[in-house]
Symmetry: C2
Subunit: 278 residues, 2 copies
């Protein structure tokens, strides 16, 4: 058994969106090994119930724990909102979500204490961003908007089309009249649409992708727990519940490197079993 | 006794420089109480030996520990380089320095993996930034430069003069020919000179002030340890070993609020005593 600081970081998402976070982890922490899991078959998570998303999250965590991991990163806002606290309570390794880092980045960026959040229905309905933002900074003005059409644009590979531009402009209309200087992309798929979103919001609105900040927070937590890796060339692994080919195509395009993708099947994890296992 | 999350955060510096960090903590964590200590009488720390700076740091930490603290932030690069690890080892509360957050921010910002660092002689000679940067990201190209003339400009209140501009242009000459897209202000006094430094370096170089990032890392650590405060109006305290009036003048100007400054005397802490006390 090699020492814990050489263990991998488990990163999970409903599909390919969490690759925006994985890419930033690779860039900011080039010595770290990533085991990425995309539950593409059941994507999107956004319209599902909180209970179902929590169940799915536990199944993926259970799958990933067959490997020696030193940290888990829930790189999906919907899953973070539904399951972060529960997964944290059951594991001894650090468990990070994407909501706290995104909230912190927005607090750092806003000059007028006025922040907008876009995300899936699940994330927006949970109120998780607003709660996290106000917990840290009670005087913030927060506006939220669900954009259910965005994830399908990315997962279907249409992110650079005229249709995407039209959907985005239409979806963001309710934000045109709101006063805000900072917009949180509260879904890990959205950075793949960042250019189009920024175009609609205008240059006076700072766009916050939680990917960069989440990678930096992971770096902080690993360093404070003496868990930074020392190896020179990490060997990442990628798992998907859907088509390995289609996952590979999007992932290689986005990551800019050749990767090997493995197909995985998840076992149902019952709540009682969960307590026993974790 | 009130719960630990309502305890104060101890912030220490050789003088007023650490106020750049305190100001960011107030902005990003408006519920947190700060007990700030500026050792103005013995400022600057930069030209002193590592052993002496470590001794001074322990004396301040000892002073601050008379109050209930939930975290300590060494808001001085020289003291961080000289004493962070030793203070961390002896305390059970989180102890943060300014070097790791600054290094992480530079890694986040650089596009060409090419970073410059300026700081006091003590900080640059310690190699602490280079070590921290390469520990996380071995492929980085790092150039370092000591700028001993900068701290006296700030502490003497000359930061907005033509003389300051001239000193800064002269000091940064060795960096004019270096390839870098990111410059770390490796001294908490330097953000007070950021405008002039940016003017000399040109607009293609991102200027990293560790103040913003240190406050964000403090937020991360407090949240992960369930230590965020809940109070509405924190009551900060400021201590100085030098003239309370002159500290107050600079501090109020920089913080943009009225504060009360207390004069403090430090007791010598011997290494043997240290082990007993901490």
């Amino acid at each position: 058994m090699y020492p814990a600081n050489e263990h991998a970081i488990g990163i999970l998402d409903s599909g390919v969106g969490g690759l925006t976070v994985a890419k930033e982890v690779m860039r900011q922490l080039p010595r770290e090994t990533i085991y990425y899991f995309g539950d593409t078959k059941r994507c999107p998570y956004g319209p599902r119930s909180e209970q179902e998303v929590r169940q799915f999250t536990f199944e993926i965590v259970h799958f990933l724990l067959q490997f020696p991991l030193k940290a888990i990163l829930i790189a999906c806002n919907t899953a973070t909102a539904a399951a972060l606290e529960q997964v944290r309570q059951q594991l001894e390794i650090p468990v990070l979500g994407v909501i706290e880092p995104g909230a912190r980045a927005a607090i750092k960026a806003t000059k007028q204490n006025s922040v907008g959040v876009i995300g899936t229905e699940g994330t927006i309905q949970s109120g998780a961003y607003e709660k996290t933002l106000k917990r840290i900074h009670p005087m913030l003005n927060v506006s939220s908007l669900a954009c259910p059409a965005f994830v399908p644009l990315v997962e279907s590979g249409q992110r650079q089309t005229a249709y995407a531009r039209q959907v985005i402009a239409e979806s963001l209309k309710p934000f045109q009249s709101k006063k805000m200087d900072t917009l949180i992309l509260g879904c890990t798929h959205y950075p793949l649409l960042a250019g189009l979103i920024a175009g609609v919001m205008g240059k006076d609105v700072a766009i916050i992708s939680s990917a960069e900040e989440t990678a930096a927070e992971l770096s902080t937590i690993l360093q404070h727990q003496h868990l930074l890796a020392r190896r020179e060339k990490p060997l990442h692994r990628f798992f998907t519940t859907g088509s390995a080919d289609s996952f590979k195509k999007i992932a290689q395009d986005w990551l800019g490197q050749a990767i090997r993708v493995e197909t995985a099947e998840l076992e149902p994890v019952t709540p009682a079993y969960r307590v026993k296992v974790f």
